[in-house]
Symmetry: C2
Subunit: 182 residues, 2 copies
């Protein structure tokens, strides 16, 4: 079945600090014209840093849309033109102080493909070296070290509900268990 939707035209309805909203007209394969709302987002990175004892460094921060603290893997937005891997190295250092010898690319993750262009690039960082964290001004976050096995339990119990963190934890657990079995 041809499901392609062809953009006819569109307008910017909102241009903000992080996101912009476009409202396009698009033609369906049956010739019908529909409206398509797109939230444009610069994309970002998520890094799960795991040390030699299986301890992961996580961040706990206030998330305004939910009005509460959330436990997440370190993450951040891509700067204009920035390579995802460079961004991951920068964000890991900013939020945790770590540099890492080994980076495993877990691929991309489209958070809400129905309405948003946001893509997050997910990494596992190992071979960690401590340094001094330097979060952005006005970025208030606490770091916590939690075993990967405990994070996995929290994910399965629904105690961790951030999508990128669930993806990073379950991919890391599966990847590391398969690597250990080789």
């Amino acid at each position: 079945m041809d499901c392609t939707e062809k953009r006819i035209d569109g307008e910017v309805k909102y241009k903000g600090v992080i996101v912009a909203v476009h409202l396009d007209r698009a033609e369906l394969s049956n010739g019908k014209i529909v409206k398509r709302e797109v939230v444009e987002h610069p994309g970002g990175v998520t890094i799960l840093p795991v040390d030699e004892n299986g301890l992961c460094t996580m961040v706990r921060q206030f998330r305004y849309p939910f009005g509460r603290m959330m436990l997440e893997a370190p993450a951040g937005k891509l700067e204009p033109g920035e390579d995802p891997k460079e961004s991951a190295v920068r964000e890991l250092s900013e939020e945790t102080g770590y540099t890492a010898d080994e980076w495993i690319d877990f691929g991309a993750c489209c958070t809400s493909p129905g309405f948003s262009s946001e893509v997050l690039h997910v990494y596992l960082a190992m071979g960690l070296h401590e340094g001094r964290s330097h979060p952005d001004e006005d970025e208030f976050l606490n770091t916590e070290k939690i075993p990967l096995s405990e994070l996995s339990r929290m994910v399965m119990a629904g105690e961790i509900d951030d999508a990128k963190t669930i993806v990073a934890v379950l991919k890391a657990e599966k990847y590391l268990s398969e690597r250990a079995a080789k």
Copy 2:
């Protein structure tokens, strides 16, 4: 560290078909006033239907923000006031025709907590009974049956990049393997 951000006031910058954008002023714990952009979304459900042979019924559909087809677990938006479980039963039937005897609640998933209020409720559906699918008008999607083990391989290889589908597949694989081991 107190990370609470208190809303002072705000305005609706855009009100569309699916999303609305609010721009609030909020006070940080250090007294500084910041702007907080929130994309309001009604939330939704994601269902991974797995039959007695381990075959999952997936949907492949055009995703306008990315301009391409994506392979995803069946999913849909909550209707106003709708209970997530009811919504999951409705969406599974609409998109695949299935009814299910057994529903496992995999919990909530906040897709982009930095800027969006979207919450997806993720379910595993088993004990499936075939029926007639009845997608929404203008909802063009193809269904495909794919083994859970193959979906898991595709997730780890980055061939599946939809966040909710990655979450549903990896939670299902872990849940079912732990259940089988009991």
